[in-house]
């Protein structure tokens, strides 16, 4: 019929990617595939082959979803921070080690009798300083971020071992444990979700009206309400699922709140605009008068802060601080993988902190699902590698136009 109607599937996909919500498509797709596989295909297969005598909802059970979210939260916290430096076109290999040092310090401080809230503030300040120090070396001395943060990774791993000679420390401070233990009552959780969705709808609508009033191009109503609807469905169903097992944990509320704040800063302030500009073309940013060095350094400060928060969340969730859970384990690669699976470019200037959360869920779901099926650690590593590659490939193909140059 019309030539326009004969767009290839790939073209449609690319067109979709260019819309505002389009950046979420590949990672949501990956998440759907993984959940579909572990939640539907595996139980059905078991049923068909007689390995199970009924359809067993394990992966998609509220209990498992709850654990999944909690397991992914530390990865997500770090991934959100790492996204900020990735936007700048830099990388931070030391984030997990920074988180480890901060968690270890937190454990030592509360053990020494420092109040939990004060200890948290202290380690957040220390984490920020650790990130900032590396950022200063990158921005002002001009050492590549890869090298500075690799040195940071090694140094901080050693530092963590110094702080925790036994490699392990229990954290029982009620304030610190509270992040993971405090649950928002069911009704309050639902109310909070409804308020958030209503605010989102109000904000979108108000923006649309203002655009119309000033004669600017406006999104189609379908896209607008589609966004609001999708957002609402996701938020409410997550809260209801968590309520079905326990309740909405404070930790997740904090994580979403912090990510929302960082998301707002990166997309809606001159500082955020500068992050993108430096990542896209640092020389242009410099020539329009942006303080490129300060912005770089600040970006690393933000990762340091997020790493410290990740350390606090980890200590809160596990009730202990161990070398392998942070500095010595797979946390770093999982966090970077989460950011990249979320669609943030390693070359700078493209990405979003929200996608990092979804990327963390992908990584978390994969580990969780493979655990449930009794896969070995070796299987998990290999599948994780394949998924990372697949996600980046989807991103490169769907971006199309710039895939060759970047």
């Amino acid at each position: 019929m019309q030539p326009d109607a004969r767009l290839s599937l790939l073209d449609r996909f690319r067109a979709l990617r260019r819309t505002q919500f389009g950046t979420f498509v590949p990672v949501l797709f990956a998440l759907a595939v993984i959940w579909g596989y572990f939640g539907l295909v595996m139980p059905l297969y078991d049923l068909a082959t007689g390995a199970a005598d009924s359809f067993r909802v394990i992966f998609l059970s509220p209990r498992n979803i709850y654990n999944l979210f909690m397991q992914s939260s530390v990865i997500a916290t770090l991934a959100v921070g790492i996204t900020v430096v990735l936007l700048l076109g830099d990388i931070d290999l030391s984030a997990a080690a920074t988180a480890g040092v901060c968690a270890a310090l937190l454990g030592v401080l509360v053990l020494a009798g420092v109040p939990g809230w004060l200890a948290c503030l202290i380690v957040m300040a220390i984490g920020t300083l650790m990130g900032l120090a590396q950022g200063l070396l990158v921005a002002y001395v001009g050492i590549p971020a890869f090298v500075v943060t690799l040195a940071g990774l090694l140094g901080f791993q050693g530092l963590m071992q110094k702080i925790l000679p036994t490699g392990n420390l229990n954290v029982s401070d009620p304030f610190v444990r509270g992040f993971a233990r405090v649950l928002i009552p069911d009704l309050w959780g639902v109310a909070l979700g409804i308020v958030v969705v209503a605010l989102f709808a109000y904000g979108s609508l108000r923006k649309q009206m203002k655009r119309r009033a000033r004669g600017l191009e406006i999104d189609s109503p379908l896209a607008l309400w589609g966004q609001v609807f999708l957002f609402g469905v996701i938020v409410i169903s997550v809260i209801l699922t968590l309520n079905a097992y326990r309740s909405l944990p404070l930790l997740l509320v904090l994580l979403v709140g912090i990510t929302g704040l960082l998301g707002w800063i990166t997309t809606s302030t001159p500082f955020g605009r500068a992050l993108f500009a430096v990542g896209g073309n640092a020389e242009s940013a410099r020539r329009v008068g942006m303080k490129v060095k300060r912005i770089r350094a600040a970006g690393f400060g933000i990762v340091g802060l997020m790493a410290a928060i990740g350390g606090i969340f980890g200590a809160s969730r596990y009730g202990s601080v161990s070398y392998t859970a942070f500095a010595g384990g797979s946390l770093l690669l999982e966090a970077i993988g989460a950011a990249v699976i979320g669609g943030t470019s390693l070359f700078g200037g493209r990405g979003s902190v929200w996608n990092a959360i979804l990327g963390a869920l992908v990584i978390g779901s994969l580990g969780n699902g493979l655990d449930l099926t009794g896969a070995s650690a070796a299987d998990k590593l290999m599948v994780s590698g394949a998924i990372l590659l697949l996600a980046v490939a989807i991103d490169a193909v769907s971006r199309g136009d710039s895939a060759g140059s970047r």
Binding site: K210, S284, G348
Partner: protein, 265 residues
């Protein structure tokens, strides 16, 4: 070197030296431009035109040399200094961020923020995206870039000419008294080039001091009032356009000053 009838300089530099390691790109260059005048800057490839413009725009810092704005000595050590003095530039390489949309590029570094957030540092106040788009629209409309569909399109997806138009719109849209265009029409079609030349003439009428770099002699003779010739990082001479012709300029660019014409002014 400048004729007696030359208007008083608005922006002037004297004895500019710039070295890149072993390369002595500018060897004591003098340059000036007056309000309501289009000064063309010509020279062979590598003569130092872009380097001189970058020094004037604060993107490069001169090793030696003095700056004057209306005969008052000023310092230009950063792009912000230049912008504060009202100096705007279209770079030869355009200096756009391809990952950002047209509106964001047009207000890069001077993003409007919403009023009423004074308690936050300026870098963390909310951007006024709508104002940004309105400004972008009017800047684009002024240049009549009809092929540009939306100011929300990413610059990375635009054609070379469209990008050039955006870089020009950014420089002429800002509050400025001096506008420097480094080969602004190199990637433009005939109609777009005409548009840019019209914009240059309009800026002259509104009392801007315009510096125009091009290798196209026809364009230069059409818009310029004076022509400054650089060769190997030094001044050759500055001519009044009305008193010279393309052949003389080409000779000056390629061979320097013939002793017999050294009194050209």
């Amino acid at each position: 070197m400048v004729g007696r009838s030359a208007p008083p300089a608005h922006l002037a530099v004297r004895g500019i030296h710039k070295r890149f390691g072993g390369v002595h790109a500018l060897k004591g260059v003098d340059f000036e431009v007056a309000r309501g005048e289009v000064m063309a800057l010509v020279g062979d490839n590598g003569a130092g035109k872009s380097t001189l413009m970058k020094v004037l725009a604060g993107a490069l810092t001169a090793d030696e040399g003095q700056f004057f704005l209306d005969d008052r000595p000023v310092g230009v050590n950063s792009p912000n200094d230049a912008a504060a003095l009202g100096i705007q530039i279209v770079y030869q390489d355009l200096a756009l961020c391809e990952n950002l949309d047209v509106a964001a590029n047009l207000s890069l570094g001077t993003e409007p923020v919403k009023p009423g957030w004074g308690f936050l540092p300026r870098l963390l106040r909310p951007l006024d995206e709508l104002e940004m788009e309105v400004r972008a629209r009017s800047a684009i409309d002024r240049l009549e870039v009809r092929t540009l569909q939306s100011v929300r399109a990413k610059v990375g997806g635009l054609s070379g000419g469209q990008r050039q138009a955006i870089a020009i719109a950014r420089a002429v849209g800002a509050q400025s008294t001096v506008v420097m265009l480094d080969e602004p029409t190199a990637a433009l079609g005939v109609a777009q080039t005409r548009q840019v030349l019209e914009v240059v003439k309009r800026m002259r009428e509104t009392g801007h001091a315009v510096v125009y770099i091009s290798h196209n002699m026809r364009d230069i003779f059409e818009v310029s009032d004076r022509i400054c010739v650089l060769r190997h990082g030094s001044n050759v001479a500055t001519y009044r356009t009305a008193d010279t012709n393309p052949d003389e300029i080409v000779v000056a660019m390629t061979r320097g000053l013939d002793p017999s014409t050294s009194d050209a002014a």
